[in-house]
Amino acid sequence: MTIDLKQFHQVFIEECTEGLDVMEASLIALNVNSIDSDMINTIFRSAHSIKGGAGTFGFSALADFTHVLETLLDEVRSAVRVLNNDLVDLLLTSVDCMRNMLELIQHERNEYTAAATDVKCTLEQFLSDTPAVVSVAVPRNGMPTSDNAPSLPIQHQHEWHITFTPHKHLMQSGNDPLRIIRELASLATDINVTLIDCPSSFIHYIADECYCAWEITLQGASVDALAIRDVFEWVVDDCDLTVIPIERRLLESESQQAMWRVTFSPVPNLFQTGNDPLRIFHELDRACEVVSCCADTQKLPSLKLIDSEKCYLSWHLIVAGNVEKNVIEEVFEWVADDAEILIEKSLRAMDIAQSQDDDSVQSAANANTRHDVPSVLSGDGGVINRSSVNSKPRAVSEPPKPVLKKKITPEASSIRVGIDKVDSLIDMVGELVITQSMLGQLGENFDITHLPKLIEGLNQLEQNTRELQESVMRIRMLPISFTFSRFPRMVRDLSHELNKKIALVLCGESTELDKTVMEKIGDPLVHLVRNSIDHGIEAPAERLKSGKKEEGTVTLNAYHQGGHVIIEIADDGRGLDRDSIAKKGVERELLTEQEASEHSDEQIFNLIFQPGFSTAKAVSALSGRGVGMDVVKRNIQALNGMVEISSIKNEGTKIKISLPLTLAILDGQLVRVGSDIYIFPLVSIVESIRYCGDLVNDIAGGFRVFKLRDEYVPIVDLSEVFGGNKVEDYSAALMVVVECDNFKVAMVVNELMAQQQVVIKSLEKNYKRIEGISGATILGDGTVALIIDAAGVVKLAGAEKLHQQCLLRKTG
């Protein structure tokens, strides 16, 4: 049977990737001072599974590598080796190597990477330093050490004599002497099996236990001691076993005893007399030695017809001992009338055994519990070449294959969806079907009296549709922790490398983001976090000098805002140096001296997104070459996202990325401005109030502010911003107070309309990007309504200045 193992490769690779992620996450979370044994177990288990899989699917390089790693982990697990930070680092490096090797495997290449070879050496060195505690028997060469049995010289004998005395509990492990003997038979061209031992006391006979022993002579051309031992591999500790080539045995057996062959064929009603063959045999054994006892099952009817109270068996016994025939007859005295008894004298045990009816022999121990007749015992089976089966698999090193053209990355083609999401989807569809049939029924003979019912049904339908839509959306959404999870490791490594102390804080990990967006934002994020660590966070000494905590903090935060997902990367480092950026900008003729002094901080900071822009004095391994920020910005813009920088000298830098939630549904507030309908994301609205002239003040620059309790809120007239006519009569107008970027703005609208969920359609995709508008949607009547991006509108209206003025007013 040939099975193409390739079909399992993809699953294996996915599984390995997961396993490696688990290992990495656990290693990072591990606290060397108080080791959590569960965690070590988890790490070990992952390594173990990877090794098993890799070996099975023919990736010997990965299997070998993981084997060494696993050995080390096993020592840690069994507390033979103490885990320290160096070891954790080594293990993490190993995980990286495995990842790289796995990448090669994706291209069907079973080989070591250069780094992996080195790391493997290091691991082996580690292992060869004998751990201080106990030395454990860890097989180093991949050979099992299970053979506790004395090693036998390999001899190719034609005939073997085996005595097999199982311990009582042998059957409790699910092993079956019969099966073992049957397997033995498959090795041989000829086999003779004789039962040599029976229960010593039937009074204490327990059906679960094995009281028998067998003597087996075996003939076969290519049978060696190892092959025979292999058959007994699983039970070697549960039995007494001798395997001797027959010539030697014949020399050993000094004297031949007198042998009796007894055939005992009781009538079916034997049991009704209270007699028990087993008891009789036991008695026989006391009188002399019962060498073998075989049941003849020929008369055994099929299971359906069997009557458990009847005896269908007859037995062939071989008895050794210098006894007279009448001694044996005496044993059978009580049943002499209920059975056919034949007692013959024989000198050689071999003759007796061979003359038995091979096709129907079965051990007495099994006769009453198992009715399958082991015809294989007749021993005419061919010789199976055992060595081809049980030889230790050699490391299969496939010839390296040329790198295949990179396939479509697997993550793009499949998505892992939680069962709960699929379940809820199925639920929704069920509901929808019910509603549909309800409406269908209603439509059959509809008149106006059914109107309330219809409305109810339509409401139901609306809810179903919305829920269904949400469920479908959720399938594509993944928590951002998928992306965030790579950072703990990265921060750990970098802080080591740069000798900085850095704590990473992750917030909003459960924020969900479309899978495609998520995949593309990973690299820019890595870059930004690197920058924060390399440039932002100062060395510990410097931090202490400037009165900060020794340990720097990098915070990654994700949350939803309007139709966007915001990801913030903040550090509490030295912040951006406006002056040196401006200076560099002038140097590179990106702006004039005058502009440099006039521009806002943000404009200056934005210079760092220029290609090739770097103020770093020295180029480090991590960053400083000025390559990157421009790429980051380009990547984010490609996702229709935006990136903003804010920074305060000596307090830190915050980079804010806002990404569209493609296909997202938004809870929207419909408003009318003039004759147009716009939608505010409901989450951005703080409150809505009636315009009240008394509380409005005009301030310089033609702006107006509104006194909302003890706050001054700038007023933005939407119709003016969007190029309509300025509202003349404010008395009937309403104001929607929205919060953006931590300050409030009141937007004047003519009317508040319904609240509803809307599907965001991208304007960028269908038209072009418009400041102040985050997207569009299609309303129930088919018209298009624009979704307001509050922050954009504020910018458009120049209200940032307003805000500053408000702050002045508030303080002044």
Binding site: M1, V11, S49, M171, N175, R179, E183
Partner: protein, 120 residues
């Protein structure tokens, strides 16, 4: 044809085992850890063989074997462990718990079939 329960937390291994066994005409039930296997075992009758990995979350193979042996229906059912060469003591532990035998990883489908042939 036999009814076999295959237990492994690694999906690829499990698939390989059950694919191989199914290919040989057996009826295979899968479980991803000891807990699940125990549930499957309880719900299924006439199981001829259980093949189980050792290292698994929730309930490992050793505990599974112990639990199975406690069930009347599994008192003598052959149970094979999937082990790696490095877990010699695990083998012994498994034996003590009542395992019938073991299959050493890595193995290929043919080896698997040969080995289960020993107990079916």
């Amino acid at each position: 044809m036999a009814r076999i329960i295959a237990v492994d937390d690694s999906a690829s291994m499990r698939q390989m085992v059950s694919f191989t066994l199914q290919g040989a005409g057996h009826d295979v039930l899968e479980a991803s850890d000891g807990m699940e296997a125990l549930k499957v075992a309880r719900a299924t009758s006439n199981v001829d063989l259980v093949i189980s990995d050792i290292n698994m979350p929730n309930m490992d193979g050793i505990s599974l074997i112990k639990e199975l042996r406690r069930l009347q229906a599994y008192k003598f059912t052959p149970i094979l462990m999937l082990t790696t060469e490095s877990s010699t003591d695990k083998k012994m532990e498994g034996k003590a718990a009542g395992a019938t035998g073991w299959i050493v990883k890595p193995f290929n489908p043919d080896q698997l079939l040969t080995t289960i042939g020993k107990v079916l």
